[in-house]
Amino acid sequence: MQIEKDLVAASATPIVLAILAEGESYGYAILKRVRELSDGELEWTDGMLYPLLHRLDRLGYVTTEWRVPPQGRKRKYYAVTDIGAAALAEHRRQWAAVTRTLDGIWHQSRVAPQGAG
């Protein structure tokens, strides 16, 4: 199954913020985590993550820091800020409302055909 492009775009910000809320991370690791969490169903063009991270930085949702871990290469680490956490909470409320609505509809429409039949 391939998730539709618009849906991927809409969910990107809360997903990235939620992953960073687990702890600071860098681009490549964030993408690995997305793949792992979605069982590979959420397919991103890897490069697109970086302009998104830029935007989150500009909005003050994340802080950035270049660091070289003991073994490994120079990487830019991102950590979520208080504003970012608040934005994530807001996203979460909105997504919860959407999924609740859809669940409601799908629950009813599954019952309806049985009731009719």
């Binding site: 860098y26 681009g27 490549y28 063009t45 890897d46 490069g47 697109m48 970086y50 302009p51 830029h54 935007r55 930085d57 500009r58 909005l59 003050g60 290469r73 120079k74 990487r75 830019k76 504003i83």
Partner: protein, 431 residues
């Protein structure tokens, strides 16, 4: 065969449009992580590189995405060539020429021996109509945008020509800059491609306004020399026509220059801001100290002077905001700006206090109401900008909030000018 390092270097050079050095470094770090992981499961460097590049995405698409994110700072010169619109010199020159001719039309509508004011009144409307036309053509006209742009122009024309102005009153003089301001904001609609809501585009329009102004000053300097030489060589009879036509055409040409020669001024604006902000800060602090020490003469003209002061400070703040990289942490420039804003507010508070206390003594005239309301509109803007600036330099908010405040406030200026142009004359009986 190329080594992995060579392949990566080549890939980086393809990406460079629209990205910064730091972006490229981050992408390369990502690419190398991916290559390492793929090599660890048995792929050769070559295979791993191909797959990693494919996963990162096409260079064009990626550059465009970065350019969009950087759009504020590095702006349009960073868009990959394919998506960069044609600057349209032909249409710009044609429209500029039409404006240069049309600006003389009102002259024929009035008795040459009579009052020249009716002609002067219509000049900004005509010139800005051509600027609006230029942007409609550039951005691809839609019926909706054309109509919404046309309506304010129509109303302005009606107000300027059908209101029963008292030719000796103050109102008729005030109405000209007021309608010009309203129409300038109206130009924003075709400039922004038919939307008013997008804050990023509003910031682009603010930048456009500042850069257009710089180009107009430069053109005026050159034009002054040209006019002077014309007067000497060909006689003074031509000068008036030349100046009026030249200024009208320059309005459109300057807009074209901003659109097509973005990078030239992009470098100039931050420099000008950094030169003048500290100088104005020194002036403002000195004036505050002077005024607080008790030495200030308050008379009828004072408020106008302080309006001018607030406009300048507001301009510096606005331009510094539009030119600043929002990701940079607060620096000394932000502090200096804060000092300038703080002193300007202090000064203005003193003046405004005495003004309001003595309004009964002086009486309310159209000039005074205009000066007073402009002062309040700017004061509210700067108070909040100063507060956000204070929070920003103390690390309690992000710069984005300052940008957002200015773009949110923008319509207030338009509404204020519209009220002054259309409603105030009714209150003062057009006098």
């Amino acid at each position: 065969m190329q080594t992995l390092d060579e392949q990566i270097a080549e890939w980086r050079s393809h990406l460079s449009a629209g990205t910064t050095e730091s972006d490229l470094e981050e992408l390369e770090s990502h690419l190398r992580d991916q290559v390492d992981d793929l090599a660890a499961v048995g792929l050769s460097d070559d295979e791993a590189f191909l797959i990693a590049v494919k996963r990162i995405g096409g260079a064009d698409e990626l550059s465009r995405e970065y350019a969009r994110e950087h759009s504020g700072r590095l702006w349009k010169q960073l868009l990959p060539p394919a998506s960069r619109p044609d600057p349209g010199l032909g249409s710009a020159l044609a429209i500029a020429a039409a404006a240069a001719v049309a600006v003389h039309l009102p002259r024929f509508a009035v008795d040459p021996a009579g009052d020249p004011l009716p002609m002067l009144r219509n000049v900004p409307v005509i010139v800005l109509a051509f600027l609006g036309l230029y942007f409609l053509v550039r951005r691809g006209p839609t019926v909706r945008t054309a109509i919404w742009t046309g309506i304010p122009f129509l109303i302005a024309t009606l107000v300027l020509n059908l209101y029963p102005w008292d030719p000796d009153g103050q109102m008729v003089v005030i109405s000209i800059p007021a309608t010009t301001t309203v129409l300038w904001f109206t130009i924003g609609l075709p400039y922004m491609g038919g939307t008013w809501r997008d804050h990023e585009r509003r910031m682009d329009f603010i930048r456009f306004t500042g850069e257009w102004f710089i180009y107009m000053v430069l053109i005026a300097l050159g034009g002054g020399v040209l006019t002077g030489l014309t007067a000497v060589l060909l006689g003074e009879g031509l000068v008036e026509w030349l100046v009026i036509s030249g200024a009208a055409g320059a309005v459109v040409v300057a807009a074209w220059l901003v659109e097509s020669k973005q990078s030239v001024v992009e470098n100039m604006a931050p420099v000008l801001t950094s030169v003048f902000t500290p100088l104005f800060a020194v002036l403002l602090v000195a004036a505050s100290v002077d005024h607080l020490a008790g030495g200030f003469e308050f008379d009828r003209e004072t408020l106008g002077i302080y309006d001018g002061l607030l406009v300048v400070v507001f301009g510096l703040v606005l331009y510094a905001t539009s030119a600043r990289d929002p990701e940079r942490p607060p620096g000394w420039m932000d502090r200096i700006q804060l000092v300038a804003v703080g002193s300007a507010l202090l000064l203005d508070g003193l003046v405004l206090g005495s003004m309001i206390a003595r309004v009964g003594e002086f009486g309310l005239t159209p000039n005074r109401v205009t000066a007073l309301t402009l002062n309040l509109v700017l004061l509210v803007n700067l108070v909040w900008a100063g507060w956000l600036g204070l929070r920003f330099v103390t690390g309690r908010t992000v710069f984005h909030r300052m940008e957002r405040w200015q773009t949110t406030y923008l319509p207030v200026f338009g509404l204020w000018a519209a009220t002054i142009a259309a409603v105030l004359p009714l209150l003062f009986d057009f006098a």
